[in-house]
């Protein structure tokens, strides 16, 4: 399977924050959700992928090309959406289009008009007056109007109302039908991913925890609930992290089958949500520090 994005041993340090030896690959033709808490390096990673930042060391290749020699070629093929408004506030959407259109070889006015119409966007109102939702729709319209092969979005659903969040996910879903496009987007609203993501990439404290197929996560990971008496030094090691109370424990495992073998019927095994995985992984990482 072809990789659209490849990061190899990427290091980037800032004051008080660092991405450590980040290696990850994003596969062509799929939607990859990018999750992690606040300030763990999601936006930094996206900026590295967009060449807004350069890594201290390591290599980044997009469509198998590097930015040093193929910067413009790569960017021609990317559509981007950021969580803040990056358009000129005092311009209207029509003027903004006039600025952006000539920079893309494959700009398609029909597509642009189609999205403007279906999103009910005003062309002659200043972008300054747009609501958060309209701003997102405008960004998306621009991102989708030049037949980009890779769509990169940083927190596209944050601050949107639930109805539009669903609409957005539907649009993305439709985009994926031809199998040529790849979507990579970060979010901390993990329920968005249930509907659309094929792969999940999870980072924590600047480290890549995993990139896995969504259904495999559900097969491998499990929330385990049981009585305190089941725990001893050996069995505790089987879990990524756990929460104990007087009534019993609740823990996350990355190896559901093994837990079923060890504890059998004595514990309750449940499907974890992505939030459970994020929560316990964070907890687990803190315990070992």
């Amino acid at each position: 399977m072809e990789n659209v994005i490849e990061l190899q041993h990427v290091q980037k340090s800032f004051e008080g924050f660092q991405l450590k030896d980040l290696s990850l690959t994003i596969k062509k033709g799929f939607v990859t959700g990018f999750i992690g808490g606040n300030g763990v390096g999601k936006s930094t990673t996206i900026k590295l992928i967009m060449n807004l930042l350069q890594p201290d060391s390591g290599t980044i290749s997009i469509f198998g090309l590097n930015y040093k020699e193929h910067e413009k070629e790569i960017k021609q093929r990317i559509g981007f959406v950021f969580d803040e408004n990056i358009f000129y506030e005092n311009l209207t959407l029509a003027e903004m289009k006039k600025i952006i259109k000539p920079s893309y070889k494959n700009w398609d006015d029909n597509l642009f008009d189609h999205y403007v119409k279906s999103f009910e966007l005003p062309l002659t109102k200043k972008i300054k007056s747009f609501s958060k939702g309209m701003m997102m729709k405008a960004s998306l319209t621009i991102a989708l109007s030049h037949h980009a092969e890779l769509i990169i979005m940083d927190e596209p659903t944050s601050g949107l109302d639930p109805i539009f969040r669903r609409e957005l996910l539907d649009i993305l879903h439709n985009l994926m039908q031809d199998g040529e496009k790849t979507i990579f987007f970060s979010t901390h609203i993990t329920t968005d991913l249930d509907r659309i993501a094929d792969y999940i990439t999870f980072i924590h404290q600047g480290e890549h925890m995993f990139t896995k197929e969504f259904y495999k996560i559900e097969e491998e990971y499990a929330i385990v609930k049981g009585g305190i008496e089941l725990l001893d030094r050996d069995t505790e090691k089987e879990f990524i992290a756990m929460r104990k109370s007087n009534h019993g424990f609740e823990a996350l495992t990355a190896n559901k089958a093994r837990i079923e073998n060890i504890f059998g019927e004595m514990v309750l095994i449940e499907r974890p949500t992505l939030e459970d995985i994020m929560f316990y992984t964070k907890k687990g990482a803190e315990q070992y520090v």
Binding site: E71, K75, I86, F87, Y88, P102
Partner: protein
């Protein structure tokens, strides 16, 4: 890259609409074409710079298929175009209002001085922020006053004499030297700005 200059023109459309009548008012009143030209050119050049200074604009431009080199170069080429535009307007303005043809030396003087100022202002603004330019200018002006008062006593007069002398010169060789100096400065400044901008983090 010319798309980037076109973008600056779209963004400055309103500024042009305000500045153009003001320019003609100045010319009608009979202000010095040279100073009007310099001030207006620099105002437009720095206006174009300030429009793109926000980090969100940098994110946009760098995410579009442009290289950082092109983004900086568009400002330098744009500065050239805007200066020519102002000089052209002054020429036309003087022709219409005063029915006189502006001396070509005056026009050349405007262009050189704007190029020198741009060469200083742009790298400074890329490195720091254009809003500090005012402070930097005030500090330089204070320094100038101090030197004027304590060292040379009559620097102002000497400067006007120098300007007068420069404009009165007939020697072609001398003009070539000045042109060479201005163009080299501009080129160095251009390269320096690219270097600064390539290392910038948004």
């Amino acid at each position: 890259m010319f798309n980037l200059i076109r973008k600056d023109i779209i963004l400055l459309k309103k500024t042009f609409m305000i500045l153009l009548p003001v320019l003609f008012v100045y010319l009608t009143v009979g202000s010095s074409s040279i100073w009007v030209g310099i001030i207006f050119s620099i105002a437009i050049i720095m206006g174009a710079f300030a429009n793109d200074e926000k980090s969100s604009s940098n994110t946009l431009l760098n995410s579009l298929p442009y290289t950082r080199k092109e983004i900086v170069s568009s400002k330098y080429i744009g500065a050239f175009i805007f200066t020519f535009l102002v000089v052209f307007m002054i020429f036309i303005g003087n022709l219409i209002i005063h029915r006189e043809i502006t001396v070509w030396k005056d026009l050349l003087f405007i262009i050189s001085l704007v190029m020198v100022s741009t060469s200083l202002f742009l790298p400074f603004s890329y490195k720091f922020k254009s809003q500090y330019l005012l402070i930097a200018s005030l500090v330089s002006f204070a320094l100038y006053m101090v030197i004027n008062n304590f060292v040379f006593q009559n620097l102002n007069e000497k400067m006007s004499e120098l300007v007068g002398m420069l404009l009165a010169l007939q020697n072609a060789q001398f003009y070539l030297i000045i042109a060479f100096f201005v163009i080299s400065l501009y080129a160095c400044s251009w390269l320096l700005s690219i270097r600064i901008y390539e290392r910038k983090v948004f």
